[in-house]
Amino acid sequence: MIALLLRDLKLAFRAGGGFGLGLAFFLIVTVLVPFSVGPQSSLLSTIAPGVLWLGALLACLLSLDRLLALDWEDGSLDLLATAPLPLEAVVTIKALAHWLTTGLPLVLAAPFLGVLLNLPVPGFLWLVISLLVGTPAMSVIGTFGAALTVGLKRGGLLLSLLVLPLYVPTLIFGAEVARRGATGMETQTPLLMLAGITAATIALLPFASAAVLRINLR
């Protein structure tokens, strides 16, 4: 299992691995928003938590279609399915590798991009916490979507449409934590809801992903 994780990380950092794609998209979105909505700093600081969360979510979505498709194309998914690793472990490791190469960099970049949107000072901590708790769910849900669409030509479109509604609860509660944190309100309830959603997806979805992957490999 460690070998699979190390291989996926290595592949992501090598040429053409797609590391940085999500990060670049996140940067583009947050840099362009002030140009499109205008320079009023009060308006920017109001929308900053929501924009940063939406940017992170879309950046995550962008990298999903390569998650399993590459392994399917070169035949290694078939070989992994016949290897001693259970498929549940394979999809969990794949999701973890995706989070480490996409989710975690977004979490770390968010405070710097928050400056561009004039995020209020108390909001920085809550933005990082909410992204840290919420992004693992996006990787796990995304892996489920990738497993559903593996083997489809141009499955990326279908994948985004399938995954988008599943991302809505995470987005609502995650952006709510960041927004309440930025305005100095109490954040416990949405943070607990967000953590609950993440914990539930990590606990349940790998089994669903492995099951649909088995059907798709037939």
Partner: protein, 204 residues
Amino acid sequence: MTLTVTDLAIARGGVPVLEGLSFSLPSGKALILRGPNGIGKTTLLRTLAGLQPPLAGRIEGAEDQIAYASHSDGLKPTLTVVENLSFWASVFGIQDIQPALDAFALNDLSDRHAGNLSAGQKRRLGLARMLVTGRPIWMLDEPTVSLDKNAVRMFSDAVRAHLGQGGSALIATHIELGLDGEVLDVGLNKAKPKPIDDFDGGFL
């Protein structure tokens, strides 16, 4: 470890291709799978490897015993030969990849990226993967595609050594490998088209 297949029926894309297939593969033996294109050789190998369920029949002794090599080699172009091979070795819990590199003459290529290998060299790397699985039953689907004469001999030597260690092999191929294995012609087990049973005789 004997692989026993009884009265197996398999389907590809929902269409039955083979039925009533029975054979057994004892350890130390090779079985050469033959049959015309589209008869279901790949489907049979995928079914035995556990990638899809059979329509009917029983497969015994296959669970966690099979190393499967499909048409594609499962190589990552941005990893080197050694990185590709040691990844599969650690997935299967094997430490030493040197015998596999030796058997397919990959030592000189060990630091090359798999993406820069020729088709035949990629195939050799894909076949070397079988040696790091440690599994007793090899299932090979057209293993000699794009191999030159020399590499085909390396391959049959590797299979012979594997059989000598008590392993077994089921090989779908159209060329003569020089292995003294039995030939299983699945052309005889072609699934018959289903009779249409909703024919309304009373209508006539």
